[in-house]
Amino acid sequence: MTTATLDPVRIRREFPTLDQSVNGHPLVYLDNAATSQKPRAVLDALGAYYENDNSNVHRGIHELSRRATVAYEESRAKVASWVGATEPAEIVWTRGTTEAINLVSTAWGLNNVREGDEILISVLEHHSNIIPWQLLAQRTGAVIKYIEIDDQGRWVLEDLSDLLTDRTKVVAISHVSNALGTVNPVKEVAAAAHEVGALVLVDGAQGAVHIKVNVQDLGVDCYAFSGHKMCGPTGIGALWARRDLLDSMEPYQGGGEMIHLVEREMSTWAKVPHKFEAGTPNIAGAIGMGAAIDFLSEVGMDAIARHERDLLAYALERVSAVGGVRIYGPESLEEHSALISFTLGDAHPHDIATILDSEGIAVRAGHHCAQLAMKHFGISATARASIYLYNTEDDIDRLAEGLEQVRSIFA
């Protein structure tokens, strides 16, 4: 791990998408929490796979299939070490975080959650970590309970011991809020949840992107994350879960790849992780996610974290100086990941985003799939500028200038 500081101007050159004009202005991309741009190394890995090695995995006897399988499984090993898994078999490929959560809520949930049991989530969750549990509750008769948030969008944990009971079967919480940027005290809640014997699943869609994750240190049971938010392709993600948990779980989907022996009445399943990987997987995506991990490791997660923290501090200063801006989320930088969620006077966030877009600045506007968090603040939407390793102070200056234009139109 390098201790050198990161040079965003040099890094930008690795991302072809960033080198373009939008609406007559050089692109400023600040919608990284939705999806990150992809470095050339990832694009090249996808191209090389399709041009040289394209073949199905774990099936063919031929050379191409062997190469594809090796690359695919090497990527799994990279993802495993990226989050501190004990072995590559603890990584199940999925389409992304959403599918990883649905896998657990279905394959584990339907066999372990009964009527009257409790599921604990937080109002800060992305819909992808709410709806799967609501579906499970509907199917089983379980009850959903919520960790509330304070006026800075942080979990209120004073009454955690009341929220966790001997009926609590699962605690499903996000590592970092996509809507407000809150870095959540997952480790603390996981420890308390385990005391009542609950399973702990973490939505890491915004976590593994910015933070060097170690699932052993976090002390959780499942960690779900996506490739596309961390420089990888869309349509690929992973579920990390403890080996014994995966071994005990029933399959999620049935099909090829996930079987051991197929009989007329009943079949037997392949070993983990293949038991959960029915059908031809997203081979190129998996290889691309491995390439993304190589890229991020090369830059260094410590350097990325430092860069993001410095740029966030600068952005908070510049954006809050714009008249009428209200920023939602933690005040402390330690608890605040690399995004700013804000409103500006009576300009609706959609209007903010359109005006910024006309200046070539990409931000997100809306409820960010976190309607419960929005409701907590009595708003329906915010504008969100989210930072990644290739953003610069110049990007933030452009954002601040764009916001002045919003002010002049809605003055």
Binding site: H350, T354, S358, A381
Partner: protein
């Protein structure tokens, strides 16, 4: 592609309706009410019509959302008072065609000050904002016609 001008989007008339929406609030004696929401962006409208003898006597709405969606609904309601159901349908269809870039529709004088919203058609991701109120109107007219039949 030519860069569309912001000034064509944020005209004073639109901003004025956004800040001071007309006919906002609950309607007494509602004949038909339609709730419409765009789950992607959170724009929301509840349109209420009081209909008497084939004519819209009064139209009101409750809603929240961006300047384009709320101004379009506000401007729409001002044209609905005293409007026949047939003309209301023509208005909604004509406005929808204008949003999809039909130059003839944009010339149609029946749209009156709604033509200020023509610039929205140059901003593809915002067209649905302008249309949400008119989608609600079309739905309301259909619902009313069905109820009339039964």
């Amino acid at each position: 592609m030519e860069t569309p001008q912001l000034s064509s989007l944020y005209q004073q008339l639109i901003l004025e309706h956004y800040r001071n929406p007309r006919n906002k609030g609950e309607l007494e004696g509602t004949s038909v009410e339609i709730h419409m929401a765009n789950p992607i962006c959170g724009d929301e409208v509840r349109l209420q019509l009081r209909i008497q003898a084939g004519q819209i006597e009064e139209a009101k709405f409750v809603g929240q959302g961006c300047s384009i969606s709320q101004a379009a609904i506000s401007m729409m309601t001002t044209l609905l008072h005293g409007c026949s159901l047939a003309d209301a349908k023509i208005l909604a269809e004509c406005f929808t065609r204008m949003m999809h870039g039909d130059p003839d529709a944009a010339e149609d004088k029946r749209l009156k000050n709604l033509r200020a919203l023509q610039g929205v058609s140059k901003f593809p991701v915002r067209i649905k904002c302008a249309l949400i109120g008119f989608d609600a109107l079309q739905e309301a007219l259909k619902t009313h016609a069905k109820e009339d039949e039964s």
